[in-house]
């Protein structure tokens, strides 16, 4: 599958990544070769095959809606790049 510069820019935007001009060419070439490598999967007839998302049979696990953990707020905020009044501080989101 041919990957264009626009493809990579589009996907980079989705992934919230910035691609610098000096890394663009190699990145496009690398991603193209990996996607091309994956193109071989189309050789296999999977018309009547169901996808497997969990190799070992898995069932959704539920529990009672009761608070069972007790973390210290300051501990939870200890890795925050920016905080204020017990909250994470972020740039303005809404105009």
């Amino acid at each position: 599958m041919k990957i264009t510069s626009q493809d990579v820019e589009y996907v980079a935007n989705l992934a919230r990544l910035k691609i610098h001009d000096d890394e663009k060419d190699k990145l496009i070439a690398d991603i193209e070769s990996i996607i091309e490598f994956a193109d071989v999967l189309s050789e296999v007839d999977t018309e009547n095959i169901e996808p497997t998302y969990h190799a070992i049979k898995a069932q959704n696990v539920l529990r009672e809606d009761i608070v069972t953990n007790n973390y210290d707020r300051d501990e939870l905020l200890s890795n925050a790049p920016s905080k204020q009044d017990g909250c994470f501080e972020v740039p303005k989101v809404v105009e």
């Binding site: 990579v8 589009y10 996907v11 992934a15 990996i34 490598f37 095959i49 190799a55 696990v61 740039p91």
Partner: protein
């Protein structure tokens, strides 16, 4: 006797007989680490003082006449993607350079319950993406057998430390071979358990349907003991299996008479290193001599495992790494005008090239218009691969392959070419795709003295079978007894 050369069970015997204290053993390993680390560079963070305190606690227990468990007082270390409360956990990434978790991963809790002195956190490929430990943001770990060569990855720090004697055992993680391949390159034992057997709570997620935590040890007995300590149901991991407890050491009988072994015809072809091929075929002969029956098999879906893996793991990684946005923890860029720029600059500055590459591949594979052709297709191939394995396990008790087609390569040799690097995982990825257990054990050395690994794969929840096979092989060949002689750049023993 160098205590740092011993296995956990040998140390345990000496502790019980009061011939040595845990503090003496721990200090021996610490001194060894201090001596080898300038050359090997396997540690990112050292917690030596804390380790000695734990050792002291164990010695007090022994002095009081209390019984100790097999891993008590045995110094260990942890891959740096396992959250350790109060200790930096970086995943070898700039993104988490100063991240200090406020909780322990489930397996870390388990190791602490065993009173194993924890020596520190070990180097890895960034966010576990790599096969050489060269994508680490901080440093490249070296192979103790030859410091110009890679230790493998992504649990390269773990394998190198256990190999060099700067940890007696380690916990690593395996998504496509990241425990087994470095174990193979460093001549140690590495096991990836059945998916769901070991809780992933507190292990920084890479590909959630493939990741598993497992032991890296000097021999199979230690592997069984470590597995015993980390296997348990965990409510905090919704994929954690709730099954009856097993004592894996009971599998170490040495008896494999009558067992049927499949050997992979696919891997013994072009591209395999001649020494690896010889060692692998010789291993098959050893199994025959021990009374097992060996037959050949071919997996129909073998050539699709690697591309399927890179789609599935890339897609899952793109989702899992979306949390690194500079808001709640981790690196935040200093340059931004708005939220979108904060995200883009943070992630572009915080992630390394390989991580970005995989996120982009994964995002592409999941995006509208490509989801069916790539991600959904890869998950259908997954079904084909699982069925393929099931077919083999109807004929065989376990199957063997070389762990890798070559021995450790030189640092810098493959890092520029992603696809060439990915070929290191050829023999190991299908195991993660199918959620199966597999172990790599040393089975020889190449003409340059570099270790070769034998890969034993079992059906789901057959850890006892593969441990039994591994133990039988080990006891009759003793490759595990070799210890690496660490040499400096001039070729002189350090």
């Amino acid at each position: 006797m160098n205590y740092y050369d011993l296995t956990a069970h040998e140390i345990h015997e000496l502790l019980v007989k009061k011939e040595v204290t845990s503090v003496e053993v721990t200090n021996s390993v610490i001194e060894r680490a201090e001596k080898t680390e300038p050359y090997i560079e396997s540690y990112l963070e050292r917690t030596f003082e804390c380790a000695v305190n734990t050792a002291r606690k164990v010695d007090e227990k022994i002095a009081k006449g209390e019984d100790i468990s097999p891993l008590e007082g045995v110094p260990a270390a942890l891959k740096d993607n396992l959250c350790t409360k109060g200790v930096k956990t970086t995943c070898a990434s700039k993104m988490l350079e100063n991240f200090v978790p406020c909780y322990d991963a489930f397996v870390v809790k388990k190791i602490k319950e065993q009173n194993s002195p924890v020596l520190g956190k070990l180097n890895m490929d960034e966010f576990a993406m790599g096969s050489s430990t060269e994508t680490s943001y901080f440093k490249t770990t070296k192979n103790p057998y030859d410091i110009n060569k890679v230790p493998g990855g992504s649990s390269g720090g773990c394998a190198a430390a256990v190999c060099a004697g700067s940890a007696v055992y380690a916990l690593g993680s395996d998504t496509g071979g990241s425990i087994r391949q470095p174990a193979s390159f460093c001549g140690v034992v590495g096991l990836k358990p059945t998916y769901g057997l070991v809780s992933r709570f507190g292990c920084v997620a890479f590909a959630s349907s493939l990741d598993q935590i497992g032991p890296i040890t000097r021999d199979v007995t230690d592997c069984a003991n470590v597995l015993n300590s980390i296997v348990a149901h965990d409510e905090l991991d919704s994929t954690s299996l709730d099954i009856p407890k097993v004592d894996y050491t009971k599998a170490l009988t040495g008896d494999i008479r009558g067992m049927k072994i499949g050997i992979a015809a696919d891997y013994i072809q072009d591209g395999i290193n001649e020494d690896v091929k010889k060692a692998f075929l010789s291993a098959a002969e050893t199994f025959k001599a021990l009374g097992a029956q060996v037959g050949e098999y071919t997996m129909k879906a073998a050539k699709y495992a690697l591309p399927a893996y890179y789609i599935i793991s890339g897609a899952e990684a793109s989702s899992n790494l979306a949390r690194f946005d500079g808001i709640r923890y981790g690196y935040r860029s200093k340059k931004y005008e708005d939220l979108t720029e904060l995200y883009k600059n943070t992630r572009s500055e915080g992630f390394g090239a390989e991580v970005k590459r995989r996120i982009l591949v994964g995002t592409y594979a999941l995006s509208a218009g490509y989801y069916d052709a790539y991600y959904k297709k890869a998950q259908k191939i997954r079904t084909v691969i699982i069925n393929d394995f099931n077919e083999q396990f109807e004929k065989f008790d376990f199957i063997i392959t070389p762990t890798t087609l070559s021995t450790a390569f030189s640092i810098g040799e493959k890092i520029e070419n992603p696809l060439e690097m990915y070929l290191n995982d050829l023999c190991t990825v299908s195991v993660n795709i199918a959620g199966l257990p597999a172990i790599s054990i040393p089975c020889g050395f190449d003409s340059g003295g570099m270790p070769i690994g034998l890969h034993i794969i079992g059906k789901a929840l057959s850890e006892e079978t593969i441990l039994r096979a591994a133990y039988a092989f080990e006891q009759n060949t003793r490759f595990n007894k070799k210890r690496a002689i660490v040499k400096n750049k001039e070729g002189r023993e350090i």
